[in-house]
């Protein structure tokens, strides 16, 4: 029903903090765009600018082709789900959902029908007469969702809607939000710092860092081809192993000696080599790739898989092995990563193809 377009958007807060430093994002109709990034990178600020809760210092935000910089939040036809839900504590669940409709002067029976329908969708029908304080966290979350969907807005905005829930409920709600968004076909922007949520929900994933966009793309494309060491270490758990350094990275810079030690030839300009923990195989393999020996320091069994933490030629590495690992701390294992699975980054942390 709507596209969202950000062009050169910047935000400078009073006091000179530049929270967003020039962001261009274009979100397709009916798609779910996830903004992900570490704390303080400006995700909420960006979302609040789309909502109209913060002014836009530079650049433009458009919804459905209309520039909305000067349009108030009520007239943007958006609905927002807040991290703390922001339910009106003095109103019953029903009134919480009906409030926005009443303010828009909708007829009583139309309001009633819409609230009932939303309540049914979200399994809230039995709770309509309760006040927010009489609900569990998960139920409150649903009411917040309900308040968003009754309005039938052009755009949904979510600011870490699941971060107050326990892990199990979070997984459940994640699937529900995805299904709901698919069913309603409402363009959505979803902020999170949980990379699992980001990967599973997004049609379009935007990785942010320090007020800038690091990479935009489909989740798996980003996973497979991270544009920078930041994205490489942010997307994926446990994060990608980065051998060598760029500014801000860990460990010593890769030297020519290192690289020959590792048995690798790398594209020119490479200072950092990245390997996903699951791309490392055990044993001696033929073919071009990273070949070295891992001294195991710790083993983390998590059930379906195990993580081996260790060092290879002074570089710290994490290796993911399926099932239980038979390796004990202190063991020295030969490991191999095929060259096709390696990622190369230059001194600025940018991806180098080769």
């Amino acid at each position: 029903m709507a596209t969202v377009e950000l062009k050169g958007v910047r935000k400078v807060y009073g006091g000179g903090v530049e929270a967003v430093k020039g962001v261009d994002i274009s979100i397709a109709d009916k798609s779910l765009c996830v903004l992900v990034g570490p704390s303080g990178c400006g995700k909420s600020t960006l979302l609040r600018m789309i909502a109209g809760l913060e002014t836009i210092t530079h650049g433009t935000a458009s919804i459905d082709g209309r520039v909305v910089n000067e349009v108030g939040p009520a007239e943007r036809d958006i609905a927002m789900v807040f991290q703390n839900y922001a339910l009106y504590p003095h109103m019953k669940v029903y009134d919480n959902m009906a409030y926005g409709l009443r303010n828009r002067g909708m007829k009583k029976d139309e309001i009633d029908a819409r609230v009932k329908r939303a309540a049914e969708t979200l399994e809230l029908s039995a709770l309509l007469d309760r006040r927010p304080r009489e609900l569990s966290g998960g139920q409150r979350q649903r009411v917040a969702m309900g308040r968003a969907i009754v309005r039938n807005p052009k755009v949904f905005l979510f600011d870490e809607p699941l971060s107050n829930l326990d892990a199990k409920l979070r997984g459940q709600m994640r699937v529900e939000i995805k299904n709901l968004q698919r069913a309603l076909e409402v363009t959505s922007v979803y902020v999170t710092h949980d990379q699992l949520e980001a990967m599973t929900l997004a049609d379009q994933l935007v990785v942010m860092n320090g007020g800038l966009v690091e990479q935009i793309g489909k989740p798996l494309d980003i996973y497979e081809k991270p544009a920078s060491t930041f994205v490489a270490s942010f997307i994926g758990a446990p994060p990608m192993n980065l051998l060598g350094t760029v500014t801000g990275g860990k460990g010593a810079p890769l030297t020519v000696a290192d690289l020959s030690d590792l048995g690798l030839s790398v594209p020119p300009g490479t200072t950092t080599v990245g390997i996903r923990p699951e791309d490392i195989e055990q044993g001696d393999h033929a073919g071009e790739g990273l070949k070295t020996r891992l001294t195991v320091e710790a083993v983390e069994p998590v059930g379906a898989e195990s993580f081996l933490h260790g060092t290879a030629n002074t570089h710290r590495l994490v290796v993911r092995v399926p099932g239980r690992s038979i390796a004990e701390p202190g063991a020295v294992l030969p490991i191999f990563a095929p060259r096709a699975k390696l990622h190369f980054f230059d001194a600025n942390g940018k991806r180098v193809e080769g």
Binding site: A51, L53, P73, A79, M80, F82, A86, Y88, N103
Partner: protein, 294 residues
Amino acid sequence: MSPRVTFPNKLLPYLLVAPQLAITLVFFYWPASQAIYQSTLREDPFGLDSAFVGIDNFRRVLADPNYVNSIQVTVIFSIATAVLAMAVAMFLAVMADKVVRGKGFYRTLMIWPYAVAPAIAGMLWLFMFNPSMGTFAYMLRSAGIYWDPLLNGPQAMFLVIVAAAWKQISYNFLFFVAGLQAIPKTLVEAAAIDGAGETKRFWTIIFPLLAPTTFFLLVINTTYAFFDTFGIIHAVTGGGPGKATETLVYKVYNDGFVNLILGESAAQSVILMVIVIALTAIQFRYVEKKVHYG
């Protein structure tokens, strides 16, 4: 619940509360019992002798049309003072909440009137509205209003209400500011997205959420208007003109210390005491429990 502090020594707790108890005994229980005792006596015209008359003093007081007038005066005065003081304070607090720069400065300025003694507050307003030399009186007269609170009862009432309310505004302001700060900003933002304009947001979100503060202040302000405004009334109108501003407390003073009708004055103070106890009970019952959202 915090764990209870227990003292190994049996005597120590009593010693610790002793100063507080002593003060309460000397300044409350003793005068209160004296008042109750006095209220059952009647003195002869020369104050030489007194006789026990039971509840006769109470009968006389309640049958006295002046007393009924005084009740009316008190009710009007208290409600008007409380409502005025709270409405103005709430308005100022809501405005101050929007100020971004120099918030602390505004707040400090707003709090100062609270430090002014009641009698001085009264004098201030008396001067400003003095028919012969007051600035505001002059302005009112040039606006065509015949202003003379020394002769006109309603005008005198208006003056004491304004003076009494003015002093209480700072106190209310402080509580409203705190109350407003306790309302999560996201609620207001959610309401803005839900299409409520500023006025609508105030009446449907902020005002209801301030209810606990408002109710607490209502009790406090009513109590203030009932009992703590003696100084202002004394300074501004002295209860006049013609008992138009004679509140219950002022009447106790007038009857007891000016007219020396000790028995009836004591009976009036006992009635006042009952009212205080009732108000306090309401405060404890409702402020603590009723008007809270979780």
